[in-house]
Symmetry: none
Subunit: 225 residues, 2 copies
């Protein structure tokens, strides 16, 4: 989980960073609104901790601009109570706020709560094609409801194929996607995994799910039924 921390006060920035890093998050910092927007685009954080009282482009403005292009959860840091009213009044789509001074524990608790909510919202990690269901987070695959025990590599192959159903994926593409690009694994190796994967699918009665297109590549088949 990556978190973008935006505050102009270096001490507070450090405090928050250290706290969050201890809590197991990856942290990126920005010291003003402009930088915040740049980083938000480039780093695609999972959450933004945003100070309201930024110089120049203030926090509320940054929030509005962020919301224009992303649904990233936002947690505001506010110094004074009257700032809270502005946040609430403006309905900017902030997810929560914490008033300074705050305790690290509190901050982490709030962040966890937000992330939990937003991950509950976005259960879109499940790929589905025909009777095959692939849950990336749980590393689990079900066929007609029955769980399939796949190894990491097998699952990786299946995911690639399911990401573009009905489209043909070439072998080099697959290999690049599974191992990094420019890896030197033999073509036969891919075949081995492919075989195991097919065998496991076949045990559930879907042996023909992955079809070979000779000389071109592989694809998650056009479903028979």
């Amino acid at each position: 989980m990556k978190i973008l921390v935006v505050d102009d006060d270096p001490r507070l920035r450090d405090l928050v960073s250290i706290t969050l890093e201890r809590a197991g998050y990856q942290v990126v910092t920005a010291r003003d609104g402009q930088m915040a927007l740049t980083h938000a685009m480039r780093e695609t954080p999972d959450l933004v901790v945003l100070d309201v009282g930024l110089p120049e482009l203030d926090g509320l403005e940054v929030c509005r601009k962020l919301r224009a292009r992303s649904d990233v959860p936002i947690l505001f840091l506010t110094a004074r109570d009257d700032e809270i009213d502005r946040i609430l009044g403006l309905e900017l789509g902030a997810d929560d706020y914490v008033t300074k001074p705050f305790s690290p524990r509190e901050l982490v608790a709030r962040i966890k709560a937000i992330l939990k909510r937003s991950s509950a919202r976005g259960t879109a990690t499940v790929l589905r094609y025909g009777p095959v269901e692939l849950d990336a987070a749980g590393h689990s695959v079900r066929v007609d409801g029955a769980a399939l025990a796949l190894t990491a590599t097998e699952l990786s192959i299946l995911r690639q194929l399911m990401q573009t159903p009905e489209a043909i994926v070439s072998r080099p593409q697959l290999i690049d996607a599974i191992y990094g690009a420019g890896s030197a694994v033999a073509d036969r190796t891919l075949d081995s995994h492919l075989r195991n994967l097919r065998r496991k699918l076949a045990e559930q009665g879907w042996g023909s799910a992955i079809e070979t297109v000779h000389g071109i590549g592989l694809r998650m088949g056009t479903w028979p039924g």
Copy 2:
């Protein structure tokens, strides 16, 4: 609502006591760290007001010890600004702090805020999955109602896993979450704790609660029944 006030200065103790009593709280006092711990155990206060600069066992130490067995909210009283850094930096789990000199009104306001928050957090501190119940506040775990004696690390692991049931948590993620990020604990160490945790679960008949997904991580299992 019962509040424990810990300070070695009798005048300040009285001031705080009277202020709080006027605000409608029941007050218990202690003049040193040792006494504070004793009272905290016996009286189970709803909040502790703790002076940082105590003789002998200092406030930070008291806080740490309290945290070892309870989640009671803690409000620090600090004399100097540099003490604040220590509180925040150490991430002891304090909920707020007030610098001396402070106004009685300020103190009461902070206390109200903390109590409000902690009651709002309220009953959501219990994680449950299958027959396993984890009560973060009480540091206790029950399986089919039977209490399980877990060490701090074991509990930490279990909590991480239960926070995202059915999802896989990688070993690095677990290690980052339990110790700070970027810590250098051996992989085997995690295994050791894991083994102990599993053994204890097995004694209650749920040895398979935590399953291993080879090469990926661990997960709080898909429940058998």
